[in-house]
């Protein structure tokens, strides 16, 4: 069982914050997006941040990118740079917090932790930004002191913009340290913290990539264009699902879903299996936007092209016909004037084969989220927070509140999915979302 899903009790946060100080942070992997972004974030409150990479030149490059990212040259006045060969032992020994953001490979990370374990001060904190590797597994073989001071601190990319952050304790992590880092990140770094269990993909990626992968699977039969429209902004997200996979990178997507598929067989197991066409295309070098295209791309003349997963060829977007999706237009028009409840009730009530596809994905998202309570977080508010603050998607509770309890249950039922007990046993009129600081309307984007 987890100690607490939500943030550390705010009443005690000032005591907690004074329980230790973070004056020097070392970033490992400071030339990568997560390393340099997190490094820039730390400079807002920490007087000294050291960027380390394989070479000093790479670390310098990370710093230059960090300056551009937050648009302030003053980042540089708080950062020094160095290489693993020349500077690692010295700066890691000096650091209050060692933040590991190297490539997402277990043996590589373990190699770094072995080095850290040899030189770190016994009281320094070691955090990993891993988005899904097991914290307990990463800590295996390390000293008692290391394991006591080691935890997962999962920022989302880009960390200077997205505040949702997962905090994952290992089985030996000192609970007082977890409380401290929770308060530090909340109060000093302005993060929206969510404590999760040490399960595959933690909370956010487990729930989020389940929906994304389900959309990738559906794209094989229905085509990416139609799926992205059906599960588009009007269903409670800024960016459409398959465009998100392209942006994240197919390789990252694969690493996350493969990890969950292997380690967390659950009631939605098959929706987490990477579709074969994606594996085939990846073998040919397709990795999404960073390789020039994935589900969507551009031809040499700049025209928009769309993948046909059946043939694994691209076709001109303009050549694709669009079925009548009048219900999406109707819902979008309601969202546009702020009538989100009317919009989402119309969504649940929409009929026809296309509405059924969209309803099944959204019902699956709600059902899957509520079924993860007790497994990845203590309560639904943890999953709500990371989906809202981390993914910028309508959190599952917001969808239930907006659609209405009964129509939600009917929608889940109709999709052939199991209705979570928290919904089945709730009284009509119960509201599930409990964060008054969030404008829930922002999630319902008019298409």
């Amino acid at each position: 069982m987890l100690s607490s899903t939500t943030t550390a009790a705010s009443g005690k946060s000032s005591d907690l914050l004074s329980s230790r100080s973070i004056k020097h942070v070392v970033i490992l992997g400071a030339n990568g997006a997560m390393g340099l972004g997190s490094g820039a974030l730390f400079t807002t409150v920490v007087p000294r941040v050291t960027f380390l990479a394989r070479t000093k030149e790479k670390a310098d490059g990370g710093l230059a990118a960090a300056v551009k990212m937050v648009r302030s040259s003053t980042v540089a006045s708080r950062v020094d740079t160095g290489s693993y060969d020349a500077d690692f032992d010295r700066v890691v020994a000096e650091a209050d917090l060692i933040f590991e953001a190297v490539t997402e490979q277990l043996p590589l990370k373990q190699e770094f932790f072995d080095r850290i374990d040899k030189v770190r001060r016994p009281d320094s904190i070691v955090a990993t930004v891993t988005s899904g590797l097991s914290i307990n597994q990463l800590a295996e073989g390390r000293s008692d002191s290391f394991r006591k001071h080691f935890l997962g601190l999962h920022f989302f990319n880009p960390p200077n913009v997205i505040v949702g952050t997962e905090l994952i304790a290992g089985k030996d992590t000192d609970p007082k340290l977890v409380d401290f880092l929770d308060a530090f990140c909340t109060k000093r770094l302005g993060r929206a913290m969510v404590r999760t269990a040490d399960t595959a993909g933690f909370a956010g990626n487990r729930v989020g990539f389940k929906l994304l992968n389900e959309c990738a699977i559906l794209a094989e039969e229905h085509g990416p264009l139609l799926i992205d429209e059906l599960v588009g902004p009007y269903t409670g997200r800024a960016l459409t699902p398959l465009a998100t996979i392209d942006l994240v990178g197919w390789d990252i997507h694969r690493a996350i879903v493969d990890n969950i598929y292997e380690l967390a067989p659950d009631e939605a197991h098959e929706t987490l299996k990477l579709p074969g066409f994606m594996a085939d295309l990846m073998a040919k070098g397709v990795l999404g936007s960073k390789t020039g295209g994935g589900f969507f791309g551009q031809d040499d003349a700049g025209g928009r092209i769309v993948l046909d997963p059946k043939t694994q060829n691209y076709v001109a977007k303009s050549s694709l016909s669009r079925p009548d999706l009048g219900f999406i237009e109707e819902i979008s028009n309601l969202h546009r004037v702020g009538r989100y409840v009317d919009g989402m009730r119309a969504f649940a009530a929409a009929t026809g084969p296309y509405a059924a596809i969209a309803q099944k994905v959204i019902a699956g998202y709600i059902s899957y989220s509520f079924h993860r309570v007790g497994e990845v977080t203590d309560d639904i508010s943890g999953i709500d927070r990371i989906m809202g603050y981390g993914f910028n998607w309508a959190p599952p509770s917001v969808l239930v509140d907006t659609i209405g309890l009964k129509p939600t249950i009917q929608m889940i039922d109709k999709a052939g999915l199991s209705v979570p007990p928290a919904l089945a046993n709730a009284q009509e009129g119960t509201t599930f979302f409990d964060d008054p600081q969030v404008n829930v309307g922002k999630f319902f984007v008019a298409a």
């Binding site: 807002t44 302030s72 200077n160 004037v337 702020g338 404008n439 309307g441 984007v445 008019a446």
Partner: protein, 411 residues
């Protein structure tokens, strides 16, 4: 003179000023709707109880090609059918003017419960076009036409006038910016709450903090913001019944203790010419501040626990400091150096983050300021709560110091 009834502020709601409603592909009525329904929810008041509605908005015609914003109130809820409504415009003071109208009607015993909503959707256009639209708050033909970003330049001139009469340092303006950004980090509705800012950045002069007009750099500016804020204001009779209904002591309900309202000539140079022999650079602004305090029976700013002022630029807040009387005229820098205006100072300015940190949806700003006063004096400001705040004052300015309005809220 007959006794006029006091005007009570029951509560309100503001949208998250970090949102981009154009990216959400929303019409501004969605923003009005979220603000008004949020205010009703916050106060546990039914839509059918509202008797009149006033909308503050600067330039819907330009940003959204839509006038007649009072009428859009009816699109919020069917219960508003037939409701008397009006839209009010006084540039960046539009929201305060809407509240002036609502409170005057309550004082005149016309209505017992009014809703005031300020709204502006500004991200519908690019920065150049938006800057040009804002120029219509000045004398457009004489001060803004064919000028890139006219308003930063006008408020740069305000700094120049301080420089001429008293001297002014960039370091003090940078400190004003730093404080507003830092306060905004405590405000969950502030537009800049996740932005990167520190004093050194505010003092930097490279590509990331370029000049917008004279001494005004990016870090000296308020933001281009989409946002709405709503308030429910009531007569004593309604407020008493409401207090019983929701279970709060009547005495704990904040009321408008005083107000001030003045207009100066619209052209900046005319204002400066008029004040040549005054110790205050914008004497009508000074008069707005002091007349609000006089009406509230408060001798001077030492009776004010916090201020929500109009920092459209750091120079406007610099001006507000001495015009509030926190220092002698021309000595605003002293209050900055002594920490008077800091969050934990004796008279914190903009605990919300102000227009620089919290954001500046033009027509909503005056309403947002009063809402923040309400939060402060009722102890509901969360992380940006000023301990023990009893009387909090606003200063909302339209144009280059042209229309100024001030309210004092207290219990």
């Amino acid at each position: 003179m007959a006794q006029v009834p006091e005007v009570y502020v029951l509560g309100g709601y503001q949208t998250d000023f970090a949102r981009n409603w154009s990216k959400e592909k929303k019409h501004f009525v969605a923003m009005m709707r979220e603000a008004v329904l949020g205010a009703l929810d916050e106060t546990q008041i039914e839509p059918s109880e509202i008797e009149v509605a006033h909308t503050g908005n600067f330039a819907g015609e330009l940003y959204s090609k839509q006038g007649h914003l009072g009428a859009f109130f009816l699109e919020i809820d069917p219960a508003f059918s037939g409701l008397p409504t009006a839209r009010h415009e006084a540039a960046c003071a539009s929201g305060s003017i809407a509240l002036m109208a609502a409170s005057a009607e309550i004082e005149a015993h016309r209505y017992d419960l009014a809703c005031v909503v300020g709204v502006e959707q500004m991200k519908s256009v690019g920065p150049g076009e938006g800057g040009d639209f804002l120029g219509t708050a000045a004398w457009y033909e004489l001060e803004a036409k064919d000028i890139e970003f006219p308003f930063p330049k006008l408020f740069g001139k305000l700094g120049d006038e301080y420089d001429k009469r008293y001297g002014i340092k960039d370091e003090h303006l940078a400190e004003i910016s730093t404080i507003n950004y830092a306060n905004a980090k405590l405000n969950p509705n502030a537009q800049t709450r996740t932005w990167y800012m520190n004093y050194d950045h505010a003092m930097s002069r490279d590509e990331f903090n370029g000049t917008i007009g004279g001494r005004i750099h990016i870090s000296d500016c308020s933001q281009v913001t989409d946002g709405a804020a709503a308030l429910l204001v009531a007569s004593p009779e309604y407020a008493k019944k409401w207090a019983d209904r929701v279970g709060v002591p009547f005495e704990s309900i904040p009321r408008i203790k005083g107000w001030g309202h003045n207009t100066a000539r619209i052209r900046f140079d005319d204002k400066i010419a008029e004040s040549a022999n005054s110790e205050y650079i914008l004497p009508h602004v000074r008069s707005t501040v002091t007349s609000a305090q006089k009406r509230a029976g408060i001798a001077d700013t030492s009776g004010i626990d916090a201020i929500e002022t109009h920092d459209c630029f750091t120079t406007s807040e610099y001006m507000a400091i001495d015009h509030f009387g926190l220092t002698a005229p021309g000595e605003s820098w002293k209050a900055i150096e002594e920490g008077v205006i800091a969050f934990d100072g004796s008279t914190p300015i903009n605990p919300s983050g102000g227009l620089i940190g919290a954001g500046h949806p033009v027509g909503a700003t005056g309403v947002r300021q009063v809402l923040d006063c309400h939060k402060q004096v009722s102890g509901k400001a969360g992380d940006y709560q000023v301990e023990g705040a009893k009387n909090v004052q606003t200063l909302n300015i339209g144009g280059s110091g042209t229309t100024s309005v001030s309210f004092i809220l207290g219990t």
